[in-house]
């Protein structure tokens, strides 16, 4: 092989590789971008229909209700302007507390209730999820844990 042909092959290989990586990234991105909405945005109808997304806000004090002995729990998420009821079946994270910030992943039902398949917990007790802080117009404290 002449050096020129070798270089040509190398260039083609690089272009093909980068192209494949870009295609892979685009494909994986499309499906897996999670958008975040506050209760105000949800009630304003900003959420595209039939999409899963993340809702965030504060758990309204006194809103956590569970039927005795059952894993099913309901609570209300608020951004101090609007509120959305959330339903979830399963274990709540340690850091879930009334009056504290929460992020849940799931979708909106026809009745306007948010059906969560995951309630997020990865933060310490003084930490407020940034999206939540922002929708409440509060400054975020820096995170201190890994």
């Amino acid at each position: 092989m002449t050096p020129r042909r070798k270089r040509l092959i190398a260039v083609i290989a690089i272009v093909a590789g980068v192209g494949a990586a870009a295609a892979l990234a685009t494909l994986a991105f499309e499906e897996n971008l999670l958008y975040f909405y506050s209760p105000t945005q949800i009630l304003a109808g900003e959420v595209p229909q039939g999409r899963t997304f993340r809702i965030g806000g504060l758990v309204t004090t006194g809103s956590v209700k569970r039927s005795s002995g059952s894993l099913e729990v309901g609570f209300i998420v608020t951004d101090n302007q609007e509120s959305v009821p959330v339903r979830y079946t399963g274990l709540l994270p340690d850091l879930f507390k009334e009056g504290k910030g929460v992020i849940a992943h799931g979708h909106l039902t026809e009745s306007g209730e948010f059906l969560a398949d995951e309630v997020l917990a990865k933060h310490d007790e003084n930490y407020m999820p940034p999206e939540v802080a922002e929708s409440l117009h509060m400054p975020t404290p820096a995170r201190t844990t890994e």
Binding site: A21, A28, N32, S68, S70, G90
Partner: protein, 650 residues
């Protein structure tokens, strides 16, 4: 008084670092032997004073000196002494100090073990390490002083985050940092080479053991983090593609590519500028990782706004280090042409593929990690990139990589004749396929395409790795550390693949509500809640459950998951009960009191999960064996002149 001594020691350390950098680089440029000597002495001075500063902070924690803001924020008088010491690196300021200490340690090691390097080159390496020290010490002193006083002093500390009060997490940061910071050595070697404008195979031989050492620590650090997340944080998850995890995984990927590419540069004088670029990338990603995790930027880019000085310093520092190295690279790398050629089936080709796949995965993970930050900074909405994205962009390049790994290990440099090995390799592949199908059907009761692919690749890599030492031993040949290390590390890759495939394909998780006496069944195991009681701890009280696990009426074990409430207040903490096994883990975590005498529990069946961490340890062990190869020590003694291969550099 002690905190002030610590603060003063930090300032002195900074002065020594400045001397180290100036005399190291200027001494080499002007050929002044006395300056170069001064630079080496400054390394010792800097190390001593950073150690004093570190000791002062540790003492403040041991002494419960709550007049120091950092101590008051991160410890508590009830905190056991072991965790009070570990609390030194429990948050931002202290972990920067640990970073500085580890860097001083690596600098000392390089200075002490590089006596046979050319004096000017050695001096440049030390000078560049000094520059990095200056950056970190300045950052600490101007924006993140761990010795800042709290006036008036707090009566009681706020306590270390309970999640961090755990053995694995106390040793996780130092080991991880040893890895991160260790790449600074490869970085300094790369920059010194660029300054001198020539790269020979001796350079690669020098860099290899240092890179392997850093990579080894990073591997162990990542495995420890994953293990901790599994039993403490994640309710049984072992990897979340969280930005914090990605921050440590990206330098590891770059480092893995680097140790392979270094082999080519040493043995064949090829891939020179690419190797340099990887060395720069590995350290740059380590820096990025340190700052991403500790600066608060991951919480929100707007967190920068709450402390603009910190954010600005980080950006400037990152751009000086990365930008400076890339400028050097742009200036010098074009002169580093590789002359030799190789055939398609040669080892060089396989390592080229290895690098391409690793770097592709790295780039896509970097994209997914930083994309939400950019979107947020540009006010384009709040998004996060879900784990499925990372699973996909990581898995797709890894599958062909594993396939080719099994072949590439047996190739030789320049040209390879795989024909004689063909039958044996095909045999391994066939056996792997049969075992994967039979085991899938017999153990897990079903054959799934993805699980089968994973098992076949895992067994393929393991079998192929075993072939090398076995063949050598049978032929009565010597087994040098480098070859054994390669086989062990690659065997470990197979073991990790086995673990990941098993747990991702066949895990079972279920949330249940149980009263005392009730049982739930998952994967054929009965989990019966037999008792609930209160137990006291040193600085917490806990509710503990007895969960009796049995299978077909035969008792296997009793798990003791706990729900802890720390005296310092705050949220409860879940301690999972785990039965460890070679074939599977059984996992029970206690949720909360649901009322009506029932508690929520999360029960899990985690097949083969142990092999993820076992394999990671084998990978690290392989790195250690390779790094200790006698060749490197012999080379260190016998080769004062670096010019053996510089004829290849045009």
């Amino acid at each position: 008084m002690i905190p002030e001594i610590g603060h003063f020691a930090l300032i002195l350390a900074l002065l020594f670092a400045i001397a180290q950098a100036f005399f190291g680089l200027a001494g080499a440029a002007r050929g002044q032997a006395a300056w170069m000597r001064a630079s080496r002495s400054a390394v010792a001075g800097q190390s001593v004073f950073i150690a004093i500063a570190f000791g002062a902070l540790a003492w403040s924690f041991i002494d419960k000196d709550f007049s120091v803001l950092y101590v008051a924020t991160n410890s508590n008088s009830q905190l056991p002494i072991f965790y009070r010491i570990a609390a030194v690196w429990g948050a931002h300021e202290g972990s920067l100090l640990l970073w500085g200490l580890v860097l001083a340690g690596w600098s000392l090691a390089v200075t002490g073990l590089s006596t046979s390097l050319q004096p000017a080159f050695r001096s440049r390496v030390i000078g560049i390490l000094g520059l990095i020290s200056i950056g970190f010490l300045l950052f600490m002193l101007t924006t993140s002083n761990p010795f800042e006083r709290l006036v008036p002093a707090a009566f009681e500390g706020r306590d270390l985050n309970p999640l961090l009060q755990d053995f694995a997490l106390t040793i996780h940061p130092p080991i991880l940092y040893a890895g991160y910071v260790g790449f600074s050595v490869a970085f300094a070697f790369a920059c010194a080479t660029l300054i001198e404008g020539r790269l020979d195979s001796a350079w690669a031989r020098w860099t290899r053991p240092w890179t392997l050492a850093a990579w080894l620590f990073l591997s162990i650090g990542i495995a420890l983090g994953s293990w901790w997340a599994y039993y403490e944080l994640g309710w049984g998850g072992w990897w979340f593609w969280d930005p914090v995890e990605n921050a440590s995984f990206m330098p590891w990927l770059a480092g893995t590519a680097l140790i392979h590419s270094l082999a080519v540069t040493e043995k064949r004088g090829l891939f020179k500028s690419w190797t340099i670029l990887l060395a720069v990338s590995a350290f740059s990603l380590s820096l990025l990782g340190t700052f991403l995790v500790r600066s608060g930027v991951l919480v929100s880019v707007h967190a920068f706004a709450t402390d603009p000085a910190r954010g600005l310093f980080i950006l400037v520092f990152l751009s000086i280090v990365i930008g400076g190295a890339l400028l050097l690279y742009a200036w010098r790398a074009p002169g580093m042409k590789s002359a030799a050629g190789f055939e398609l089936a040669a080892r060089e080709s396989f390592i080229l593929f290895n690098n391409a796949f690793l770097v592709a995965a790295l780039a896509l993970i970097l994209l997914g990690t930083l994309y939400p930050l950019f979107m947020d900074a540009l006010e384009l909405g709040k998004i996060s990139v879900g784990p499925p994205y990372f699973n996909m962009v990581f898995m797709v390049p890894m599958l062909p990589l594993l396939l080719m790994l099994g072949i590439g290990m047996h190739t030789t440099w320049k040209r390879s004749r795989l024909q004689p090995l063909r039958n044996r390799l095909l045999g391994i592949a066939a056996v792997a396929l049969v075992i994967a199908l039979v085991a899938g059907a017999a153990v897990y009761g079903e054959i799934r395409p993805m699980a089968t692919i994973g098992f076949v690749l895992a067994l393929w890599v393991m079998g192929s790795s075993l072939m090398i030492p076995l063949a050598r031993l049978r032929a009565g040949q010597a087994l040098p550390g480098a070859v054994l290390g390669m086989a062990v590390a690659h065997f470990g890759v197979g073991v990790v693949t086995l673990g990941i495939t098993g747990v991702q394909s066949f895990k079972i998780e279920q949330d249940v509500a149980l009263a005392v006496g009730d049982a739930a069944t998952i994967a054929g195991y009965d989990f019966r809640l037999t008792a609930l009681r209160d137990v006291p701890g040193p600085n917490f009280v806990a509710v503990e459950a007895d969960v009796l696990v049995s299978r077909d009426g035969e008792t296997i074990t009793t798990l003791h998951p706990q729900k802890r409430l720390y005296n310092s207040g705050g949220n409860p903490l879940t301690e999972a009960g785990i039965e460890v096994g070679a074939a599977r883990d059984l996992f029970a975590a206690l949720g909360e009191d649901l009322g009506g005498g029932r508690w929520s529990l999360r029960l899990q069946y985690k097949p083969l999960i142990r092999y993820i961490w076992l394999g990671a340890l084998l990978i690290a062990l392989g790195g250690g064996l390779a790094g200790l190869d006698r060749r490197y020590r012999r080379a260190a003694k016998a080769e004062p002149a670096l010019d053996t291969a510089s004829a290849e550099v045009t």
